[in-house]
C-alpha cells in the first residue's frame, strides 16, 4: 500500500518503480466499472411468434362448423362421428355453458384448453390464431359410472369445482364449451383410456381450428409479438417444470402439431421422462398438453 497526503506544497517529485504505477493504473478501471450503471443487455432475438386473438361472444351447436359475426357454430353431428376415432370412447356429448350458468353438474374435469391453431410456421414461431372468450372443458366418466381420475376427482357442481380467473382456468365471463366423454369400463385407470378421451376432443377441436385458420388478420381483436430473447451478459436462468410421468392421469404430451393439441406430440412417459428443453415461445404456443 502506498499513501501520500499533502496539505500545502509547491513542487513535489515522486518516484516509484514502474511496476507499482502500472498496478495502480490497473486497479482504477475496475473500480469505476463497479460504480457505473450496468448497461442495457444486448438482446438477441432468436424467433418471433405472432399471436392473434379473435373474439367470440356466442357459441352454438348447429349443423355445420363456422365462425361468423363473433359466433362460433359447432356441428353437433361431430359428437357421433368422433366415436370412430377411438373405440375406447363410447359416448360423446357436446354442450355450451354460458357465463352465469355455472350451477350445473359436471363430471371430473380432465383438462381445460383454449382453441388455437397454427396458421404459419411450426409451434413456437410463425403465426397462431386463438379464440378469445371461449375455452374447452374436457370432462369424463367410464361406463361403470366411475370418474376418470386416479384420485381426487373434481366432479360436482361446476361453480364449486373450478377456481375461476386463475392462469389455468377461464374467467368467470368466458363461455365454456364442454366435451363430455364416456370411456370403456375400467379404462380410466390405464393410460389408453384418458388418451382416447383427449384424442376425441382434439379431433372435434380440429374442425373449429380449420375455420379459425381462415379468419382474416384485420378481424383480430388482439395481436402481439412474442420473442424468444437471449440477453447476453445477464445471469442465465433455467426454468424446470416437473410434470407427472407415472401413467394414466400423470402424463403430458410434448410438442403436438397444434397449440394445446394431442396429435403429433410425444408423451413425456414415452420420452423416458428425461429433461427436454422447450423455448419460452414453444411453451406459450401450447407445446405442453396436460393429460391430468
Amino acid at each position: 500500500m502506498f499513501k501520500i497526503s499533502v496539505k500545502q506544497a509547491k513542487s513535489i517529485t515522486m518516484e516509484m518503480p514502474e511496476k507499482l504505477a502500472q498496478m495502480a493504473l490497473r486497479e482504477k478501471p475496475q473500480q469505476s466499472k463497479s460504480k457505473a450503471v450496468t448497461p442495457l443487455p444486448k438482446e438477441n432475438v432468436l424467433r418471433t411468434l405472432i399471436w392473434r386473438e379473435f373474439s367470440v361472444n356466442n357459441v352454438q351447436i348447429s349443423n355445420n362448423t363456422k365462425i361468423v359475426d363473433n359466433t362460433l357454430y359447432l356441428d353437433g353431428a361431430l359428437a357421433q362421428q368422433a366415436l370412430s376415432i377411438n373405440p375406447l370412447v363410447k359416448k360423446v356429448t357436446i354442450d355450451v355453458i354460458k357465463p352465469g350458468q355455472h350451477d350445473v353438474f359436471t363430471n371430473t374435469i380432465m383438462d381445460i384448453m383454449p382453441i388455437a391453431t397454427k396458421v404459419e410456421g411450426k409451434m413456437g414461431e410463425g403465426i397462431t390464431h386463438c379464440l378469445r372468450g371461449v375455452v374447452v372443458f374436457l370432462t369424463g366418466i367410464d361406463e361403470a359410472g366411475r370418474q376418470i381420475a386416479e384420485f381426487g376427482s373434481s366432479h360436482g357442481i361446476l361453480k364449486d369445482k373450478v377456481a375461476f380467473g386463475m392462469p389455468g382456468t377461464p374467467k368467470i365471463d368466458e363461455i365454456v364449451l364442454r366435451i363430455d366423454v364416456v370411456i370403456e369400463k375400467g379404462a380410466g385407470m390405464e393410460r389408453r383410456g384418458p388418451l382416447a378421451a383427449h384424442q376425441v376432443c382434439d379431433w372435434i377441436l380440429d374442425h373449429i381450428r380449420r375455420e379459425l385458420k381462415k379468419m382474416p388478420p384485420q378481424e383480430a381483436v388482439f395481436t402481439q409479438e412474442f420473442k424468444d430473447i437471449r440477453r447476453e451478459g445477464r445471469p442465465k436462468v433455467l426454468i424446470v417444470k416437473e410434470l407427472g410421468g407415472q401413467g394414466a392421469m400423470h402424463e403430458k404430451i410434448i410438442m403436438p402439431s397444434e397449440p394445446g393439441g394431442v396429435r403429433g406430440g410425444k408423451s413425456i412417459i414415452d420420452l423416458g421422462n428425461v429433461p427436454v428443453i422447450l423455448t419460452p415461445n414453444e411453451v406459450k404456443d401450447g407445446g405442453i398438453h396436460s393429460m391430468t
Binding site: L40, A116, P167, G168, I239
Partner: protein
C-alpha cells in the same frame, strides 16, 4: 399420492404460465429455456432423471434454476432429488410446489421453497386451478433467485 385437481396445471395454464412470462420479460436475466422433466413411478428412475437434469444444467452453464413441481407426495421425491443434483453443482435453486402439510423428503439445499397452497388448508381441495402458480409466486421466486445468484457471485 400424485397430481390432484387443485394442483394440476391445465393446458391453458401451460400456455399462460406466469412463471415463464415473468422470467422471460425480466431484463435482468437471460432465460435459457424451459426444461420439462417427467416424474417416473420408480424411485431408481426418479434419481436417474434427476441426475440427467443436473448434467443438463451443468452443461448449459446456468447461474440459477427455478423449479416447479406439479402434484405432491411421491412427486416430491424427484423434486428433492432435482434440487440436490443442482445444489451439489453449486447452482442456486428456488423451488415452487404445493407443500401443504410439508414435504415428504428434504435435503440441505431446499432452503427456498415457495408453497403454492392458496386455500390454506394444507390439503388437496379438489377445486381445479386453485393451488397453482400465480404471478405473485413467480415474482417472489425470481426475486429470491436473483438474491441467491448475487450472493454466489459475491
Amino acid at each position: 399420492m400424485g397430481v390432484g385437481p387443485s394442483t394440476k396445471e391445465t393446458t391453458l395454464h401451460h400456455m399462460r404460465d406466469p412463471l415463464v412470462e415473468i422470467v422471460q420479460n425480466d431484463k435482468d436475466v437471460d432465460l435459457v429455456g424451459i426444461a420439462v422433466v417427467g416424474s417416473p413411478q420408480d424411485n431408481l428412475e426418479k434419481f436417474y432423471v434427476a441426475k440427467r437434469l443436473g448434467m443438463l444444467a451443468e452443461a448449459l452453464g446456468v447461474d440459477g434454476v427455478l423449479i416447479y413441481a406439479e402434484g405432491f407426495g411421491n412427486q416430491h421425491v424427484d423434486f428433492a432429488a432435482h434440487i440436490e443434483e443442482l445444489g451439489k453443482r453449486g447452482i442456486p435453486v428456488v423451488g415452487l410446489t404445493f407443500a401443504g402439510n410439508g414435504l415428504v423428503v428434504e435435503n440441505e439445499y431446499m432452503e427456498d421453497i415457495i408453497d403454492l397452497d392458496k386455500a390454506g388448508q394444507g390439503m388437496e381441495t379438489e377445486v381445479v386451478g386453485q393451488n397453482c402458480v400465480v404471478k405473485a409466486d413467480a415474482v417472489k421466486s425470481l426475486k429470491i433467485l436473483k438474491q441467491k445468484m448475487k450472493k454466489k457471485r459475491g
